[in-house]
Symmetry: C2
Subunit: 88 residues, 2 copies
């Protein structure tokens, strides 16, 4: 089965986010007020061939922990959905 996978990687709460802080500091100069708590993360999307949903989810979790995120400072949220008409 083929799955469409989206991994949202964000910094853990309390971890400094210089990129977000820079955006937040710049916005008032550009005329945007009232924006607070800016945090910047990564979004990784891909397609995955796997036997079933459980296997796919476990493979993605492993992938996140070992390669896509730094578990010390980042967390990942995984969204997984089967792609229709693409079984094999």
């Amino acid at each position: 089965m083929r799955f469409s996978v989206q991994v949202d990687v964000s910094l853990r709460e309390g971890v400094a986010d210089p990129q977000g802080a820079t955006i937040e500091r710049s916005l008032p100069h550009l005329g945007f007020d009232g924006v607070t708590g800016v945090r910047v993360g990564k979004q990784i999307v891909f397609e995955l061939d796997s036997t079933d949903e459980d296997a796919a989810r476990s493979e993605v979790d492993d992938l996140c922990a070992r390669f896509l995120t730094n578990p010390v400072i980042e967390t990942a949220r995984v969204t997984l959905s089967a792609v229709e008409g693409a079984s094999r």
Copy 2:
């Protein structure tokens, strides 16, 4: 009113994604097979004070076009929700 805003910035289809290509090329060496079409984007979350939802949405669209994305090569998907108990 206070809104919680999530902006997903992704490269337009057809635009080269070297970061995604590098991830895709590395995965088989790490034992992950069957991963294709890797695309990497940014996810920006923040809180916004605005008068109502329409004003907030229009401000975020403007912010995306002028500051958070490069509209030539990127698109933005905005998710906006009111934060409960934070009206002013």
